[in-house]
Symmetry: C2
Subunit: 424 residues, 2 copies
């Protein structure tokens, strides 16, 4: 079922705020069978808001309104609904109870600004907001259901799963929730994966819809069905997919590479250490972003200069002189030095040319040597990603974690990461 | 002057792409005097696109259209313009020349998909695209100027500064460019800064408009004037501001804390080292995000475990046993150990409880000790930011860099970071 979205707020017009709420709304409701087909954004302008609501209500059966529920004078949603539907604003008892309860928890009495949020159109009903002071508003206009939500993202998120979803389901019982399976892949782009599915899974059933969400470093693959009867079919598709690209699938739902690597290290009771040059601490930062990282990670070394590679990690100066800092022997020695100094079981070491300066004919910007593995089992490989400094550091950090993931899983080959489609 | 924005693309409706183009357009054009007042987003739906263009053209004198210029069948902008204005699509010689030149540079001949991009409404004119294969389109409908731009962000950015801006200036010579001065602050929120300006700069002139753009970790403050005649007035305002909150102003325009700290270290010919526990490499990663960091940064230590604090940094085990890892003596010893092992001139060391686990009554989640300064001049301070693990790591990393910035500038007091407004 198609729905519309009206976002309000001056900050959305000036570009001072990048609107991420509408993506949240679209994604959250799509899996329930409600697709945003039309999105309008206007500033805090009463006449524009009323005109747009009036127009959209002739085109759609439901509109989600976001923003304008706050306590200040530029929060105009209730007033716009009142004008639109020619209903007076009256105090709603359950809105008042909510505001009083909310203020009470903070040990303050409701002030005039808080009480403004209890004045809703006479025929409106209240949408529960489990976090903030502003209640949401549900109201009919023409044959359209208007659901008004707050602009504060955590409040919006809570309501999308709660009162808003409930109101939509109640208003449109025929909308069919989609059953989505989300897989996370590293090292393969959307078009390459599409091509692989087209080539290698020729009997893909139309009931299982494939969707993608490009992200860096992970690609999300969605397998959607609309009917529980097709669950077995979806499972079969996932099985087929795993047969052809299983090594690239790192996890599911909100998994990150760090989550997966830490989980593997925990299960195998291994300690990790890191020796980073060109990634400059980003791998360590990604690992320690995960709560519980301390169970498998004790020491990281950012050996950004050659002198520190020698003094801190014990890399032989002669190796650096002979092969350069970006070389197989040096990255191997960095990993060995980190393992020795940390007593860890496995290591990642990286040394590369992030750029934009520092490239040579021999080792252009984007070149990186990575070492990974255990004390007696270190692997090394050279990669080349001339994609700009920030993207280079992001990709190399993820790549290194993925190589370790594959090592911990016993995969031995270095895959063809980010293979390009044959150009036309 | 108010303008409208029409964005097209299915990926914007599903939420698979968060729209950052419209913020780029709004910010880029606002300084030129063109304010986005109305924004509509629709999928790749020809009838909806035509209907919205028609409606918006009755309300505004200019519309920026974004997306739909690509070579594939779901790129519908030219076709929509043709329907809207009842003009046939014809091959434009300068569009063809652009496509041929673009393909030629890549050593390929233009194919049918490329050539589709040369078919524009008969009365349209071409907007130069210095990067991509798709030219932009300018066309009048009713009394409205339609400027169509590509969805690929770098192409859009280049055209906003080039052909699009030129067309707007030519079409609307009376629009007044704003003269914006952008300052970056750390450690102060928007409402606190607003209050300070209200309290301490009572004679602020109305010609100098104050704007904010909230970001983490830096807050952007904008001082806007519309007339060059007020440049001196704006400079005077900036001077006043620097008198009251100068210590919080870290830089201007796109400066980051790392940029500023690296610049200071370079000018003072000092080398930095880092000993990170709870930030887990994020400070090193922020520093090495900057090209040229190697001139002032050689070694970072991520000493996540107590054993590594002892073995790698030489922290006395007795200190950890007696005071705990999150303590003044330990963070000081971490800084001293890093300085000694790296031969650097100044250091930052951090040890804290990022959470969600690991807090105690004595040292709750959000507690962090920071040490910063030079060998003979180490400062330490305890802070408390119970804001969730990711935000804690982000704030503490920035805070540590800001403390070092102030140290390098000779500011001695630890400021009242992120002071709250008095609650009502």
């Amino acid at each position: 079922m198609k729905i519309a979205l009206l976002l309000t707020g001056n900050e959305l017009m000036t570009g001072d705020t990048v609107d991420s709420n509408s993506a949240m709304i679209a994604q959250s409701l799509a899996v329930q069978g409600f697709d945003v087909a039309h999105k309008v954004t206007v500033g805090d302008d009463l006449n524009l808001i009323v005109a747009e609501l009036d127009k959209l209500s002739t085109m759609y059966s439901a509109i989600i309104v976001n923003g304008g529920l706050g306590p200040t004078v530029d929060d105009l949603t209730a007033q716009a609904l009142s004008m639109l539907t020619a209903q007076p604003l009256v105090e709603h008892a359950n809105a008042l109870a909510h505001v009083n309860e909310w203020c009470g928890r903070r040990g303050v009495a409701a002030n005039a600004a808080n009480l403004k949020q209890t004045m809703l159109p006479a025929k409106a009903s209240v949408l529960a907001n489990p976090i903030g002071s502003a209640v949401g508003i549900a109201l009919h206009h023409r044959n359209c259901l208007l659901l008004c939500t707050p602009g504060v993202p955590p409040e919006l998120a809570a309501m999308l799963e709660g009162s808003v979803l409930e109101a939509l389901k109640q208003g449109f019982p025929d909308a069919t929730a989609r059953l989505v399976r989300r897989l996370k892949l590293f090292g393969m782009g959307e078009s390459a994966l599409q091509q692989i599915i087209a080539d290698q899974c020729p009997n893909w059933p139309s009931e299982v819809v494939v969707g993608f969400r490009a992200g860096m470093p992970l690609l999300e693959l969605k397998l959607e069905i609309e009917d529980e009867a097709h669950l077995a079919l979806r499972d079969q598709c996932e099985k087929e997919l795993r047969q052809v690209v299983g090594g690239f699938i790192v996890g599911e739902n909100d998994d990150t590479l760090s989550d997966i690597v830490i989980g593997l290290l925990q299960r195998q009771q291994q300690q990790l250490t890191l020796a980073e040059s060109c990634t400059g601490g980003m791998i360590a930062s990604n690992i320690t972003a995960v709560s519980g990282a301390s169970s498998v990670f004790g020491a990281g070394f950012v050996s950004y200069s050659n002198a520190i590679k020698e003094s801190v990690l014990g890399v032989d100066a002669a190796l650096i002189n002979q092969h350069g800092a970006v070389s197989e022997p040096v990255v191997r020695a960095m990993a060995e030095g980190a393992l020795q100094r940390s007593s860890a079981d496995c290591a990642i070491a990286v040394s590369g040319v992030a750029g934009p300066e520092g490239g040579t004919d021999d080792k252009p910007v984007g070149t990186v040597w990575i070492a990974w593995g255990g004390v007696d089992n270190l692997n090394t490989h050279c990669f080349h990603y001339p994609v700009g400094r920030a993207m280079f550091q992001t990709i190399v950090s993820a790549l290194a974690l993925d190589l370790l993931r594959r090592y911990l899983l016993g995969f031995n080959e270095v895959p063809n990461y980010f293979q390009r489609k044959r150009s036309k």
